[in-house]
């Protein structure tokens, strides 16, 4: 029942704090959630990917994640700097389903808050919950090291309840993966993201 509260809570919050206020609340919740999960360290990518498959990392509290080991991201030397991962089911899917079944249509405030985030922060939310979820992943990834190197999460794409897709072109460009490839992954997933060594990019290193 706690999850169902999101829609009425967001509806109430929008009337009091506006859509921008709700976006700020959600961003803080995502950050605080990830920070309170603690830090993790893995000796290498195989160890990290096994932990992801087995659901032992803070990143997999959101649900079952497919580790796409065929989509290794490499730097200019051919060294692996990260992988692409696909979240099978959006964590909000059961909640949305029960809300529609038991209460009625999802309130407009859900889209209003997502639009506010898309216009002001990054065009990557298909529902208001994406805001906290994506922030959680970003901060959680920063708290994980692989071979003593900090990680970074790049949101690549996600799919909404009605099938609308949000792609993040700058992230796709950074890991040098084609948009069509990600769309094919989205056929059987709800959210696609990359985990890479912080500050790295496919093909070359970022100049700080």
């Amino acid at each position: 029942m706690m999850d169902i509260a999101i829609y009425s809570l967001v509806d109430d919050m929008v009337s009091k704090a506006g859509t921008e206020g709700v976006v700020e609340y959600w961003l803080r919740v995502g950050e605080s959630y990830a920070e309170r999960m603690g830090k993790e360290a893995y000796v290498g990518w195989p160890a990290f990917n096994v932990a992801m498959k087995e659901g032992r990392t803070s990143l997999t509290v959101e649900g079952q994640v497919n580790v796409l080991t065929d989509l290794a991201i490499t730097d200019r030397d051919g060294d692996v700097i990260g992988y692409v991962y696909a979240l099978k089911t959006c964590p909000m899917a059961p909640t949305m389903g029960r809300y529609i079944l038991r209460i009625g249509p999802i309130p407009d405030s859900d889209t209003d808050v997502a639009d506010s985030y898309n216009n002001r922060v990054r065009d990557s939310a298909v529902s208001n919950y994406c805001i906290t979820h994506q922030k959680f992943r970003e901060v959680a990834a920063n708290n994980i090291t692989v071979a003593k190197q900090a990680l970074e999460c790049l949101q690549l794409a996600n799919k909404g309840m009605t099938g609308e897709v949000k792609m993040v072109p700058e992230s796709l460009e950074r890991i040098n993966v084609d948009e069509r490839h990600i769309k094919s992954i989205l056929r059987s997933a709800s959210c696609v993201f990359a985990i890479i060594i912080k500050g790295k990019t496919a093909g070359e290193e970022i100049i700080e």
């Binding site: 029942m1 999850d3 899917a93």
Partner: protein, 208 residues
């Protein structure tokens, strides 16, 4: 989310990732607006949620009681309810228990603000909450009852006992308790026995 996610929605459970983030959302509200803000939002969103559910009418008390026990009434949308006497009802498993367990498992001890908000509710609204989630739950029940008519009369709801995950039981003051138990048609000993087996004991009735 996938199209397949919407299959068999009726019985799918919430994702604990979402449940925990809602608790954190309320904690963030308390950081900005204090315990009073926490309580007001918790109560306010439960009222909004209840106002969104469809109204119901039943010809007889037995029709209503049967719909509640079988999960067909909006009153039992989020919990399994059992009738123990004509007007006495219990919920065996608190619908928030999974969210509470997951919070403790993933993050640790509950933020003290939850207990402070519970105390605030018990002192300013009614002394019936054992956990902050009870504020949402009991408000939802109270407001949903207003949307249900039995034999043309509005349904009335009164909380008798609520048990927290710590085992602590919230009970009304002695003078109220006797009246409520009498109305439910159960003795105090029976009431304690019910609270040993269940998480919540309450009264549903229509004015004669």
């Amino acid at each position: 989310m996938n199209e397949g996610d919407h299959m068999s929605q009726k019985n799918i459970e919430s994702n604990p990732f979402v449940d925990v983030s809602v608790f954190l959302f309320f904690e963030d509200i308390s950081d900005k607006q204090g315990v009073e803000g926490f309580t007001n939002y918790m109560v306010g969103q439960a009222e909004s949620l209840a106002k969104s559910v469809p109204s119901e009418e039943y010809e007889t008390w037995d029709d209503f009681a049967s719909a509640v026990a079988s999960g067909e009434s909006v009153f039992s949308s989020f919990e399994n309810i059992e009738q123990i006497s004509k007007f006495g009802f219990v919920t065996k498993n608190c619908p928030f228990s999974k969210a509470i367990r997951e919070y403790i498992k993933r993050i640790g001890n509950f933020n003290p603000v939850h207990m402070e908000a519970t105390d605030h509710y018990n002192h300013t609204i009614q002394p019936s909450a054992a956990h902050s989630a009870c504020m949402m739950h009991q408000t939802y029940r109270k407001e949903v009852a207003k949307r249900i008519k039995v034999g043309g009369k509005p349904l009335q709801y009164a909380q008798i006992g609520a048990k927290a995950h710590t085992g602590q039981i919230a009970l009304p003051p002695e003078s109220w308790k006797k009246v409520l138990l009498d109305k439910a048609g159960i003795s105090e000993t029976q009431g304690f026995m019910e609270m040993r087996e269940n998480s919540c004991l309450y009264l549903l009735y229509v004015d004669e």
